[in-house]
Symmetry: C2
Subunit: 257 residues, 2 copies
């Protein structure tokens, strides 16, 4: 049984304002909740009897855990199609890469990636490609928004995310850290030496990388269309461009090692 | 001015049943409509005075073209955020690859890709990578659904799409055409010779490629996570996996040529 107040509290977490005030966010569905329970502090669970029965061991002791009917879950859910379980988690602190991570790892920076689905996709592929840090401009979607949480498919807890103005951040990193970005007038990524470390900047859906941020990019890359040299007025979706770029960095790292 | 009947007719095109009955679909926004006007027969336009003023040359002669106020456009629009122009277009015929295309080109086949956003993303990247044919299983999203049309960003008219049961289709193609698919237990794509032609099969969001379709795949590929060999319970979003796969085929074709 879930109270009207609990439902109201859950629904308030749709909005960033209330998420930030309370430091909480919602995750839903067996896959997402199952993953998030390993990586975030959980404060509340509402689930069907069968989910609770099957997942007793992973539900943290001492937190409110309500058994609900599917109709009740539908009322509480932020999704169009509620899926067995909904849980509330505590947000983690804003985390930027440590100095030693910057010196040795590949990180992603997102310059105003506004679509929650794109941000979720990028977090999911960051995890696949072993990228531990994602640095977001303040205009990037909120990682704790329900659409991002669901699109990231549980990757949220495995990738450290921090929000900070990118031009200032990039101007403060050591000068020997390469900063890559994709541009329509960049050099063919397949003809460019790529480091095993550095920051890959990806830009906004409509406008790409902002001028101020672009001024800190040391290597301008370009994903060639096919056949090469085809004049195109098209661009690639930012999730897709991030995927192709990260895959190529990782292919190179595996080939050279 | 746009009539209530016109608005009703537009809204009915949200549903596949009415789209198919009437052989029509809706596109919205300057970018999407601008592209579709080059590639589809247009039967109706509703737009703000300023859009019409700026685009007189591309509006086909002799079709109803209504000047609307933003409030009217909002009522007619199928989008949350209407954008200056809405148009109705005539669907094209279901088109499968010609025999000579199969012998010489790379084609995509989608096995129940259900999410409209994913299908739109795939059409957009097919265009980027010069893939002219996309073969869809009957369970794949409808390319004319509003979400696909908008996510494809105008790529719809540049790629030929046909719906057909994939197992039957793949059993009927010449035996020398390679059929690729991505699987969690495939061989590393970067260690596998890739042809400049053939069919790349991509699978459903939750279940991957169906068993029946998989039995026709001649080359099972795998996109490696990083570091290589990391055990992972994750998978990549189908749009992202398609992008990485197509990019690698095209990189190889460019390198060998």
């Amino acid at each position: 049984m879930i109270s009207k107040q609990q439902i109201k509290a859950i629904h308030s977490l749709r909005l960033k304002k209330y998420r930030d005030q309370r430091g909480l966010f919602v995750g839903e569905g067996p896959k997402v909740v199952g993953e998030l329970l390993h990586t975030f502090e959980c404060t509340f669970v509402a689930a069907t009897a069968s989910w609770i029965e099957a997942n007793r061991q992973i539900i943290p002791a001492g937190i409110p855990c309500e058994t609900v009917q599917p109709e009740e879950l539908a009322k509480a859910s932020l999704l169009e199609t509620p899926q067995q379980v909904l849980a509330i988690f505590r947000q983690k602190e804003n985390t930027l890469p440590t100095d030693s991570a910057l010196q040795s790892e590949l990180c992603l920076a997102l310059d105003t990636v506004q679509d929650p689905g794109n941000l979720g996709t990028i977090l999911r592929l960051a995890r696949w490609f072993g990228i531990n840090y994602v640095i977001c401009s303040p205009g990037t979607a909120d990682i704790y928004s329900p659409k991002v949480v669901q699109a990231a498919m549980g990757a949220l807890g495995k990738v450290s995310v921090g929000y900070t103005p990118l031009p200032q951040y990039l101007s403060g990193i050591p000068a020997d850290i390469p900063v890559y970005g994709t541009f329509l007038d960049g050099t063919n990524i397949y003809d460019t030496p790529l480091s095993y470390r550095g920051i890959i900047v990806m830009g906004n859906e409509g406008n790409g990388i902002s001028q101020l941020t672009a001024s800190h990019v040391t290597h301008r890359l370009y994903i060639p269309p096919y056949p090469a040299g085809t004049p195109t007025i098209e661009s690639l979706n930012v999730g897709v461009a991030t995927a192709i770029t990260c895959a190529e960095f990782r292919r190179r790292a595996n080939t050279n090692s």
